[in-house]
Symmetry: C2
Subunit: 211 residues, 2 copies
DNA sequence: CGTTATTTTAAACGCTTGTTTAAACTGCTT
DNA sequence: AAGCAGTTTAAACAAGCGTTTAAAATAACG
């Protein structure tokens, strides 16, 4: 395996575990068993390494997500459950792409939104707008009465639910194991969260009596 | 104002903005206009300072939250909207306790769950179990059919929604301002999120056909 | 084989981090 | 006024950070 990939693999799991700020290049290179300077030689800087780790996943995921969402839109009136379920297969396909891929990617997504003051949010929304656009279209088809403003809020709430859940998914799976004696996996968590976010996005429009 | 409080105030807003890992003691002491060593003199360590910042809010909030939730439980069959609405007044009361108190506290809560590998989660659940217990009881009264396991998951989803939303609430309020020309405040965000989480928690139990 | 080009390596760079030290200063009591 | 506990201060500490350098090792090619 190439040095570049060894670094990417080590960085990925460490970033997912301890965040971007919380992981040093020395930890990465020692887990990858490469020289410290290799990061700056191959990637230029730590920031570029973070982007490279994210890009590797997004380039894999983004086209699958887009086609899945476009396919949903072809239906006359999809349900919100159907819309959100469109994420399942593309996300789980990351597990074939790499061990723990789904879990790692979703954790990284969560880190990116809270670490480093949102530069990753900029990165994703500017580099991969196709996913977001198609998602908005699909939700609109499933719930046309939802105003643009409510849509904005509820999609961000959904992002929060997913991202937060996944960034602490390992801890949650552990608790579920000890409290309910259930051996769950990341796919179970995904299946669990979908009814929740679908119901949240599908909540009735509040009567317009705000200040 | 005492040195101790000057430090607490500066640390609070900086922690909320940039996270615990992302804020140095030198930033804190220079914003507080006190000597660097004052933090270790008054609090012992950075970790203890973080606890002190959180405790100041939790000691204010926790009793109000408990009584509000207990009051909800006295009702025969509260709705989920009512249960979640019980949080509004206690949370907004933090704004009288301190400028931007509500927003700062909720952001800190979000930071605590993702920074520092969850030591704050331990801190809150062990130090303030009364809030969580009463909340679970209230939700159970509002939705008795919800199994313990589903309850566990959905409350964590809710935590994720709220915590993530609030940790990026400033950015969201800015976007809402430019996109929809609405001048929103933290109280508007809270009122917005309640129908979402209430619908999420109230989602129908999935048919038990999982693997 | 010899000569480039690419990659790896050890060492050092300058800087920031949390924490500690010991001296200076403050306000109070006797 | 002297002494004393509580507090503040400047300076230094060791450790860790991301990054750079220049030499050594390896690979690629005519």
């Amino acid at each position: 395996m190439s040095t570049k990939n060894k670094i990417l693999d080590a960085a990925e799991s460490l970033f997912a575990d301890k965040g971007f700020n919380g992981t040093s290049l020395r930890e990465i290179t020692s887990q990858a068993e490469v020289n410290l300077a290799a990061v700056n030689y191959h990637f230029g800087s730590k920031k570029e390494l973070i982007k490279a780790v994210m890009s590797r996943y997004m380039n894999e995921l983004s086209p699958r997500l887009e086609t899945a969402l476009i396919q949903i839109c072809e239906s006359e009136s999809p349900s919100l459950i159907e819309v959100f379920s469109a994420f399942i297969d593309p996300l789980l396909s990351l597990n074939e792409f790499k061990n723990n891929g789904t879990s790692n990617f979703l954790q990284l997504l969560g880190r990116g939104y809270t670490d480093s003051q949102g530069f990753l949010r900029w990165f994703l929304t500017t580099q991969y707008p196709g996913v977001i656009d198609n998602f908005v279209i699909a939700v609109h088809k499933a719930y046309p009465e939802l105003s643009a403003e409510e849509m904005f809020w509820r999609l961000h709430f959904t992002m929060g639910t997913v991202v937060f859940t996944m960034s602490s998914s390992e801890a949650l799976i552990d608790i579920a194991k000890s409290d309910f004696e259930r051996e769950l996996q990341i796919s179970d968590v995904i299946h669990n969260v979908i009814p929740y976010v679908a119901a949240g996005v599908g909540a009735p429009m509040p009567s317009n009596t705000r200040s």
